[in-house]
């Protein structure tokens, strides 16, 4: 009918090729992370400041009763450790999406997107790579925290891993979803104020929800509806070898929704074409 005829039958991609691609993307993200030592240090300093200073000061103010998964009275530091682990992932998720905005502007994202593999898969790999980086940060934090008497059962270090992977994916895809809507790099400061801080404070990261409920029922409902709360609780329970099924369901559902949304919303023309038209509103 036309000169556009198929010459070779489409052969698709083998599982091997998908795996090569995935490991390549994770490997490259790891290399980049190692080159950005400041990023690693600041990713660690942030939760440690909370742990060493905030928690130490707050310990006297806030008593923690025995609530699951804890079986004894615990120090406040022990209580907020899972929240800080989730905070590391929250910042990392937002930072990876910042790097996608940055990449997009620097043209590096083009290298990724001209890969012949399906775009959804490429973005998924990118999210997984970001999660892998967050795992390095979280385990480094746990190591330091161990010296600060935050000593979950040894098996907890292993059982928390799947929870961390899931929460990392959820927060990463949320970051990607948000970054698709960012038109300029400067707007990211706004994301910090309007996404990271509210999510972190309106959650069970710093105080148990029953205490929030005593203070303000509305805030309590907000906290319960906050996916970040469930990421924290999923991690908290997993760290003690238990599963919080509700949190698992919420985090899994949010991961799926955010990821699909992020992949659908990701439109490189938004970032790459910016230099074209002067007034690209939309």
């Amino acid at each position: 009918m036309s000169s556009i005829t198929t010459r070779d039958a489409p052969r698709g991609f083998s599982l091997q090729e998908y795996m090569t691609c995935l490991t390549g993307i994770v490997w490259r993200e790891g290399l980049r992370f190692l080159h950005q030592r400041e990023r690693f240090v600041s990713a660690l300093v942030r939760p440690l400041v909370w742990l060493f200073i905030f928690a130490a000061g707050f310990r006297q103010v806030l008593g923690i009763s025995i609530i699951p998964p804890y079986e004894t009275y615990i120090l406040y530091e022990v209580y907020i450790a899972p929240g800080l682990m989730a905070m590391i992932q929250l910042f990392n998720g937002m930072q990876s999406s910042l790097s996608m905005v940055y990449d997009r502007e620097m043209g590096n994202m083009r290298t990724l997107l001209v890969s012949p593999l399906p775009r959804g898969f490429l973005l998924f790999c990118k999210l997984l790579a970001g999660t892998a980086v967050s795992l390095l940060q979280v385990y480094a934090f746990l190591l330091i925290a161990w010296f600060w008497d935050i000593t979950p059962p040894p098996s907890g270090y292993l059982t928390v891993l799947p929870a961390l992977i899931l929460s990392g994916l959820m927060l990463g895809s949320l970051g990607m979803l948000i970054s698709s809507g960012i038109k300029q790099l400067e707007n990211f400061a706004g994301v910090m104020n309007f996404v990271i801080f509210p999510m972190f404070f309106a959650s069970s990261a710093l105080y148990p929800l029953w205490r929030v409920q005593e203070g303000s029922p509305y805030l309590y409902y907000l906290c319960v509806a906050n996916p970040f709360t469930h990421a924290v609780e999923l991690i908290r329970f997993a760290l003690y070898g238990q599963i919080n099924w509700i949190s698992l369901a919420v985090v899994a559902a949010c991961t799926i929704v955010f990821m699909i949304g992020a992949i659908l919303a990701y439109d490189p023309s938004r970032g790459l074409a910016r230099r074209g038209p002067a007034g690209g509103e939309g």
């Binding site: 198929t6 090729e17 691609c21 490991t23 490259r28 620097m106 890969s115 593999l117």
Partner: protein
């Protein structure tokens, strides 16, 4: 959609081998950024083993066209085929045959030359062993073997471009796109890159689409596509484009073609 004419029309301007599937077939492609129309009904072909120069000033729509061919942007209307594979319908098969060097640099400056190449290979699903072998070979060909482990940041502009071309060839594409690859390079580096790419055409039969606004990069045997304000004004072998514009050289031909278009009220 109904008329096959736009597809066959550009073929008359290309090499006389009707049996060959074009390396690149652009067919009635239009693209808008909101109200601004960047490309209007663009059609042309690039044949295998040919050097096609896409000639246009800044803002002519060259980079938009590249973004459409590489599937970075969704195609709004028209069709793009790479060796017969429609970019929208089977992007995987199409992109596998395509190598591209974008105008802005897209290397990881903090990674080494080899690491950049291995990353690209992984994105194409090429196994690590195979990728290492190909990387070493390509680095040798562009004369950067001894720099394999250095950071890309330490390379000169010309070396980075050579590396980008090597990277674009890593998965052995049969069509190579280059978007103003010599911008910002000195005379020597420019000449090196041009001769390298021309060698790829003659020795490996790769089809090349070379976007430029520098007339001295075009040679007598090249095919030419003149793109201006989103429209193709002329296309065909260089000698014919010049003759049709009743000019003596590419420069004058280009000025005549585009001058008529830029005049206010100057009709199509």
């Amino acid at each position: 959609m109904t008329s096959p004419a736009p597809i066959t029309e550009p073929r008359e301007t290309s090499r006389p081998d009707p049996a060959t599937v074009p390396a690149l077939a652009i067919d009635g492609v239009s693209h808008s950024y909101g109200p601004r129309r960047a490309l209007m009904d663009v059609s042309f072909n690039v044949q295998p083993a040919s050097f096609t120069a896409l000639l246009g000033l800044n803002g002519a729509g060259k980079s938009t066209l590249f973004s459409l061919i590489t599937r970075l942007f969704g195609i709004q209307s028209g069709r793009v085929g790479i060796f017969g594979h429609d970019v929208s319908k089977s992007p995987g098969e199409a992109l596998r045959l395509l190598g591209v060097v974008f105008q802005p640099r897209t290397l990881d400056l903090d990674l080494s030359l080899t690491q950049n190449l291995l990353y690209h290979a992984a994105l194409h699903g090429i196994s690590r062993r195979e990728a290492s072998a190909r990387s070493a070979e390509l680095l040798g060909r562009i004369g950067l073997s001894d720099r394999a482990g250095s950071k890309v940041r330490d390379l000169s502009g010309g070396q980075m471009r050579r590396l980008e071309i090597a990277r674009a060839l890593l998965h052995r594409p049969r069509l190579l796109l280059l978007d103003e690859p010599t911008v910002g390079l000195d005379v020597k580096a420019r000449a090196d890159i041009i001769s390298h790419v021309r060698q790829l055409v003659t020795e490996q039969g790769i089809g090349v689409l070379w976007a430029t606004h520098l007339f001295d990069e075009i040679m007598a045997g090249d095919d030419l596509v003149v793109l201006h304000q989103g429209k193709v004004l002329a296309q065909g072998p260089m000698s014919r484009v010049i003759a049709e514009a009743s000019a003596q050289d590419v420069n004058t031909a280009f000025m005549r073609l585009t001058g008529a278009q830029t005049m206010p009220g100057g009709g199509a």
